[in-house]
Amino acid sequence: MITKEIIEKIEGEASVEFEIKDNLVEFATISFPHFRGIEMILNGKNALDALVITPRVCGICGHAHLMASVRAIEDAYKNAGYEIKNNQKIEKIREFTLIMEIIQNHFKWFYMTLIPELEKLHSTSLVQTPLKGAFAASLAAKAIATFAGQWPHSSYMIPGGITSDPTNIDILQVQTYLQELSLFFENETLGTSLEDFLSFESCKEFRGLNSDFSYIEEKLISLEMHEKGFAYDKFLILGKHSFTSVSKLNKTHAVGIDAKFVNTVEAYSPNQITYAKNAQYKKEYYETGPLSRMMALNFPIIKNMHRRFKDSAYSRVMARIFELAYLLKKASSLATTLTIAESSYNSVVDISKITASGLGVVEAPRGPLLHKIEIEKGIIESYKIITPTQFNIGSSSLKNPTPAQKAMQKLSKEEALFVFRTFDVCSVCTTH
């Protein structure tokens, strides 16, 4: 039997066609139906205009697009013989605002996607508080806006630096937002301190908590999500940052990699129109995002969880919440080490002097985001974007399924729909 489900309450819209056999999902194909054409819009424009246009690919992770754009343009400067070396202050502030965007994303996902969906699946009433997620996210957005002017859709990163020149007042203000946000996370979400949470060594320690988080954790276990939703147990991190390491992992074994080996293939979606291509690394599928990034670090609890539950839906969900804790701590330490001493911007040659190609890679909330630009005398000849959802939620054939397709197999349709969302789907990015 074939049934089609429209997936909403994600970023944008997707449609999944299930092949059901004996009440279980035999196979699922995924389509993203709404074309938007950002790459085409960019052709022929001044390369710097990409800093304004590409954040508009996505309302929830536009800041990651801004950073991928600025990295791509700076890489083109380098390839044209004008290497740009940004100072610590510039790098730290860019990194800080990117991290804060990931944080706002995870809060929204936890409260506005995960909890309501879990509620549906469990057919009980859980914590009816989706707007908590919006509140926490808005605090993170304030911290971004202090340096970037606004969130969403800032364009404050430019080749050679950032447009803002913060004072110590701004830095203190940002620290205050972070303290408020950390308190919210500790009191409302976790039920314990960030420090304690990050030092946990086993999932068993979650049991002592009484919070939104522990409630969700129990429900995931009772739904056996620790035994469901497995993908390839292969992970990919491509963006270079202070909070993760560029690598690919086969289970726990990590090796170094290079973003130039990323390739895309046409999606397989025989019955539905889709505008998404699948992304691979050296022609193989990998899972990207928080679980991958956490696997690349040495947290005892992540190792413990992976040993017991592999890359299950449970691990995927828990890793995203754990990353939230980890990044809040990281952001706090970045904010306390920010100084205003260095310059915010160092002059670069005019973009019209640049004829080169460039590649910008960042870790967006859902994983690697790649921008490839080709510039001819400052004008965009070609612009290509590959988004994290293309890695996780492509649509391939039964012989070689994508991570999300694999994770949905052999589950009931309802479970599969939940597992689909554990990847944190961004349809708008995918159909850029």
Partner: protein
């Protein structure tokens, strides 16, 4: 017996070709919960809603306030229903129609993905065009890429208070769009004395002369009602890109088009001659305070 719930005005929020940025901007509203509690969310793509997408595409229900986010593409379908049918059905029955953001107002960024057919609800840039011409008197355009959450909160609050919202010729509320983005900019004194910013990344200097700032030509209250209650583009040294205007996005956004070293576009309503005269005079002065650093840190570390 009817509960209070039944009497709440029903909001239906629908998406065309969009990045969802207006939704995410709206979620930043400080008093979101209090505001939303006064309405019934019949449908919203992210917020918990009474109906699902499949249900609303059956076109059986009605809403009081129809909010549309994104550009209108006549070929787009949601759940296989043509978007024109959906938009017309809900607009026909709604007392208020709100175009949330520049795409829904004028076409914006996503007009460019199919320039021959995409538009806003009642405008294609500044020309009257689009699916809701018959209901245009009820359409309020909240242009901006994205909308500011307080702007939408203002419109919803006025509706709750049963107050008339006066609009300009582009259907934007005059209380929000009579200001220019320039008003309240912390760099105003540099504009007055024609002191331009040498570079990005500085507190000093006006961005109008070299960096492409469109704030004196852009109707919005960005420097009056601050973004995220914190800041604005120009306050952090980013030029205004004119995102509330029908011609957004322009090109060469980080540089000012000049004519004999004077900006080609001059502030709204000011004649070129007046502007040139004033500039000529202002430029004859050398004001040391404005040429130097605003804060002179002892930066020896």
């Amino acid at each position: 017996m009817h509960s209070k719930q039944d009497k709440k005005l029903k909001i239906l929020w629908f998406r065309g070709v969009t990045c969802n940025g207006n939704t995410h901007s709206f979620l930043n509203l400080p008093h979101l919960e209090q505001l939303l509690n006064r309405f019934e969310i019949l449908y919203h793509p992210i917020l918990e809603s009474t109906l699902s997408l499949v249900e609303i595409t059956k076109l059986k229900d009605k809403c009081d306030i129809f909010i549309f986010e994104g550009a209108y593409d006549p070929l787009m379908r949601r759940n296989e229903v043509l978007i024109g049918d959906i938009v017309t059905h809900y607009a026909k029955n709604a007392k208020h129609i709100i175009a949330a953001g520049s795409c829904a107002s004028f076409g914006g960024i996503f007009k460019a993905s199919a320039p021959q057919r995409n538009s806003g609800l009642i405008f294609n840039e500044d020309v009257e065009y689009g699916p809701l011409q018959s209901y245009k008197d009820r359409v309020i355009n909240l242009s901006g890429c994205p909308i500011h959450p307080e702007w939408l909160s203002y419109v919803l609050g006025m509706i709750l208070n049963k107050k008339e919202i006066e609009v300009d010729s582009l259907h934007r509320p005059i209380e929000l769009y009579s200001n220019l983005a320039h008003h309240g900019c912390t760099r105003n004194e540099y504009f007055e004395w024609k002191v331009d910013a040498d570079n990005f990344g500085e507190k000093e200097g006006c961005l109008f002369y070299k960096q492409g700032c469109r704030a004196p030509m852009t109707h919005s209250s960005c420097n009056k009602i601050l973004w995220n209650n914190v800041s604005s583009k120009t306050r952090v040294g980013t030029p205004c890109f004119g995102c509330t205007e029908p011609n957004f996005p322009l090109t060469n956004l980080f540089s000012t088009k000049t004519n004999m070293s004077i900006p080609k576009d001059v502030p709204v309503g000011i004649s070129k001659r007046s502007y040139l005269t004033l500039t000529g005079i202002a430029k004859t002065f050398y004001i040391k305070r404005l040429e130097g650093k605003l804060i002179d840190y002892k930066r020896d570390n």
